[in-house]
Symmetry: C2
Subunit: 203 residues, 2 copies
DNA sequence: CTTATCTTGGACGTACGTGTCTAACTTAAG
DNA sequence: CTTAAGTTAGACACGTACGTCCAAGATAAG
């Protein structure tokens, strides 16, 4: 965390940083396709050799951690770019859905069990919590203001939104829907599920 | 399929069949919790030793196939018990949801990637298709009769229903919702998503 | 150009899961 | 009780992935 990145030695080659980034990208892409990909697979995808991976990341766990950290940072900044707190909840939700879909499309690994399962030893059980945090706040606000459905628990709403995101991502991955179709279906479905209807229905 | 189960040898011990069933049950339970459980794990859960598993199932793949076959049969018969073709689509969907939730609750492995991933070599890519087939037919009928939403593709509806089932199952598994809560949330959410609203909204 | 960094190839040890075999034992079936 | 079915313990071969070490070659930095 508090690492000043002190250039203590006189020579540092940007050569190294490039291959380090290549390995990280390859890990994200490869693990997104195959959650149990080996270091060998990742190295091949990065165009390097297994030992080079270990030169930058001491262990598989370390690489996994780096992947998750990178994704968390990227996602957080992508979601920070949108304002989700001031617009009316429905509008904010639309923006959140659009932004998060874009991120998921760029990093399909986010929908893979790699992230959830990769909790090393006794780390936080939800590393990607910083991402859903904004959604949680948004849902709470929508409920407080009376424009979001409150029939079921808040957590159910969150998990339903995530689950529909998974479904949309899988449709695209399976080639059964275009990215635009999936995005629209995802958006419409979530809104239909979350936003309270104009007139109250019976039970 | 057409195996007369001929008692060709003079002695057959029901002892064997009991442990065979124990292994199968243990495999279903264990793989439901941990998709990559070893034969050792399954054997331990069954109260036997690894070699005993191999005495009944020649390979891991064979065991997996047996698990899937068993689940397919069980699920099919559970869903055959309900009539999903004659009642009005919404009512039929309610029944389908209730029945399929009961099955999923009994066999959490159905929501695990074990089933989808376990396609051996060039087998059907969807072994559990016989289960969703009924849902597909039901959704088609509801669309034709004009009571189900047609805004997005049929396949999206199916995959959304499955995805919400996953979400509900995970909530229960994580202890965040009771089984009854999850069932209700699942049912309500699917209906809200699938059934056309009384009055057409704008775009 | 010199030097330290980086990558590479080769080899090695370890751990784990699969699948097979065999001999000894328990136990249900006749 | 006798016999064959079934389970067990032990050992083995095999493959795969992880992680480490080292020496040689390529290359960017000064």
């Amino acid at each position: 965390m508090a690492e000043p990145e002190r250039p203590r030695s006189r020579k540092r080659r940007l050569d190294g940083e490039r291959s380090r980034a290549a390995v990280l990208d390859a890990a994200i892409a490869t693990l997104g396709r195959q959650a149990d990909a080996s270091i060998e697979d990742i190295a091949a995808a990065a165009g390097v050799v297994r030992q080079t991976v270990y030169a930058h990341y001491p262990s598989r766990t370390a690489l996994l951690t780096a992947v998750i950290d990178h994704l968390t940072t990227e996602t957080a900044s992508a979601l920070d770019a949108i304002d989700v707190t001031s617009p009316p909840p429905e509008q904010a939700l639309r923006r959140w859905l659009e932004a998060s879909w874009a991120v998921v499309e760029r990093y399909p690994i986010l929908l893979s069990p790699v992230i959830a399962t990769a909790a090393p030893p006794a780390d936080e059980h939800d590393r990607h919590r910083p991402v859903t945090t904004r959604l949680v706040d948004l849902v709470r606000r929508g409920r407080r203001t009376g424009v979001f459905e409150e029939r079921h628990s808040e957590e159910w709403t969150i998990s339903a939104v995530i689950a529909l995101g998974h479904a949309a991502g899988q449709q695209v991955a399976a080639g059964r829907m275009s990215s635009a179709e999936a995005a629209a279906a995802y958006r419409d479905s979530v809104l239909r599920l979350v936003v309270k209807l104009p007139m109250a229905e019976d039970d």
